[in-house]
């Protein structure tokens, strides 16, 4: 399969959030109702059981797994209720569990790999008792051992997070309007004047910029002059931009309305969003310079009430059936190889599972923010100021 994540024209499941069955209209949703991909077995086949409980979730919409059939029937069988609040940016997770009064209120959340050490320094996640999440042992080795694992998910003697999904951020483009872009510098050319969008995603932008310039650092420590170079890279792209795209959801609308022909940083899920709006031609590609990867994992916030329900829920989310359904619903990659045979071929083809290690270590490295910044290097506040000046 191709590394670029492109896929044939087809209809998609709506991204998690709808009760597709009750919508009952449109051919796009017949696929969802007939559920070709997933063989949902009995609820307790995959995971443990709890005697009831409540999940209070705070993170991205869809990660609460509201509609995946395996997880849904598990909830029903175990009398677990779920109540969710959704974020629009990753920082809202940080804010909620520090200054935002969310401590003790929520018992399930997530963090993106690169935020791990930062969150632990703020006391946000609780140390995980991995004996309560046996299904995690099934995931690809890169997610449960090795340098990446020890940098973002298990350190200081504890495991803080279980990575369960990841995705790629490169360039989204309209396949009917332009040929597949092969590099970011192509988008800086004169033919694209006033036709592209630059997404307001500071972390992805910095990682992509650094990677494209060949100065990427896994710990995200850059000197001020390197930050200037990264901003210079994006300023070049901005010259051709029609606008700064405020969000990925918005990006899909811009493609559908024909306002832009390409945008970066991108996200493969935007293709689904656009398809739901009737435009099947939005595609995602990783250009020659590479891209960035985000990898989200479950965490149980410290001082959570009812952690047992959270543990059981997380464990259920790692079962092969649940992971296969997550891949379809979220249009993102998953971490359990046993889920691959349970997916339909189109979903499986979306992500480069067979080249996982290469992709995560060199083609599209993991995004991270600078933490415990020694003097002479740019802090996250410096990043924000540079990005604000860039957008001004």
């Amino acid at each position: 399969m191709s590394l670029d994540g492109s896929f044939p024209r087809r209809d998609f499941l709506r991204r998690a959030g709808i009760i597709a069955a009750t919508a009952g209209v449109g051919p796009a949703f017949v696929a969802a109702c007939s559920s070709t991909a997933t063989k949902s077995g009995p609820a307790s086949a995959s995971g443990g059981t709890v005697k009831g409980g409540a999940i209070n979730f705070w993170s991205w919409q869809g990660y609460d797994l509201l509609t995946e059939p395996a997880v849904k029937s598990w909830r029903a069988a175990n009398h677990v209720s779920i109540h969710s609040g959704y974020v629009g940016t990753h920082d809202e997770i940080t804010a909620k569990f520090t200054t935002g009064g969310g401590k003790g209120v929520y018992n399930l959340s997530t963090y993106e790999a690169g935020y791990g050490p930062f969150y632990v320094s703020l006391g946000i996640p609780s140390a995980l008792d991995m004996s309560k999440i046996p299904n995690f042992a099934q995931v690809y080795p890169i997610f449960r051992s090795g340098p990446i694992f020890n940098r973002w998910w298990r350190f200081n003697g504890h495991q803080w997070c279980c990575p369960f999904t990841w995705g790629l951020q490169g360039i989204n483009y309209d396949a009917t309007k332009i040929k597949t872009p092969t590099s970011y510098t192509e988008l800086m050319g004169p033919t694209f004047k006033g036709k592209i969008g630059v997404t307001d995603d500071i972390v992805a932008a910095f990682v992509i910029g650094a990677h494209a310039l060949g100065i990427f650092k896994a710990n995200s420590l850059y000197t001020p002059s390197q930050v200037s170079k990264i901003i210079g890279f994006w300023t070049q792209l901005k010259k051709n931009a029609r606008l700064i795209v405020p969000s990925y959801g918005n990006m899909a609308d811009l493609f559908v309305a024909g306002e832009i022909v390409a945008a970066t940083p991108g996200w493969s899920a935007v293709n689904t969003f656009a398809a739901q709006k009737g435009d099947n031609h939005v595609t995602h590609v990783i250009p020659s310079e590479g891209a960035a990867t985000f990898c989200d994992g479950f965490m149980i916030p410290s001082q959570a009430s009812d952690p047992d329900a959270a543990y059981a829920y997380i464990n259920e989310a790692f079962s092969p059936e649940a992971q296969a359904q997550e891949a379809e619903a979220l249009v993102q990659a998953v971490v359990n190889p046993k889920a691959l045979p349970l997916m339909n071929s189109a979903t499986r083809a979306l992500y480069p599972y067979d080249q996982l290690d290469t992709v995560l270590t060199s083609r599209a490295p993991l995004e991270a923010i600078p933490v415990k910044v020694p003097s002479g290097y740019a802090s996250f506040a410096d990043w924000e100021n540079a990005w604000t000046a860039f957008k001004a």
């Binding site: 804010a95 029609r242 024909g258 506040a381 924000e384 957008k391 001004a392």
Partner: protein, 310 residues
Amino acid sequence: MQALQTGKTPGLRSRPSNGRGVAGRLRARTRRRLAIIVLVGPAIVLLLGALFVPAVNLLVKSVVESTGYGQVAYHFTFSNYVSAVTTPGYLTVALNAFGIGALAAVICTAASYPIAYFINFRLRRGKNLALFLVVASLFSSYLVRLYAWYTILGIHGVLNDALVRLGVIKQPLLFLLFNRWAVLIAFVNIFLPYTILMISSAMQNIQKDLLESARVLGASPFRTFSRVLLPLTMTGAVGALAYTFILSSGDYITPALLGGLNGEFVGQIVSNQFIALGDVPLGAAISFVMLAVFLAVYFALTRLERFKGI
């Protein structure tokens, strides 16, 4: 005689109490004071507890040191205010916000006058319906209406479509959307109902005959406006200007969605300080600087109220 009930005593001016002499007047005054306290008290308590005290708390936070996400050390420092006014990029963003906000305020207020005049002084039976329609337009969600501008001003939007079909232009106009003008149009659309209502409310104080007398005495429409209508509705105009300026400059969602490459407003910087960086002191300092600008404009506008005509 009169049974003066303690507690609520509305409608009492400085009336002498009936035939009780000095003692009676003193009792009446005490009761009146009590009445005032009871009536105005709740509003004061509310403002003190839920606004004044939190604002002072935030002010304190703005002059201490930030030591990490969400953490402060209580050492006095002005560095936050220095950062607020000297960080490159902040000034550009601030000018962007205040400039567009000011324009929106002037346009909304000016545009409201003809309509408010028409509704109040020219319509008889249609008046209530017209005001009803204005109020009704307030009830559609502001965020959702923002998206409608894509459909109106976009490359394949209603305006461009019509212009191309009529042959006025060959290619769609790109400058209609994703720039400061789109943001301005959206602000005017959002705040116009409010300014119409405010100015209309101010016009209700004016006797119809007053304007007609001016006409009969030979004044031109412009002079009647500037010498009669404007001064008499000055409170409403000032309110409309201040309200629109403050709320549109402080908005950061509309500009992000419609502003294209000029979509960064001051509010976004403050929000970032709080959410992305957890730097409460700096966020507080920037918002107080913003507040100082708003209060300065507000007071400058209230001086306008004494204005007696052009």
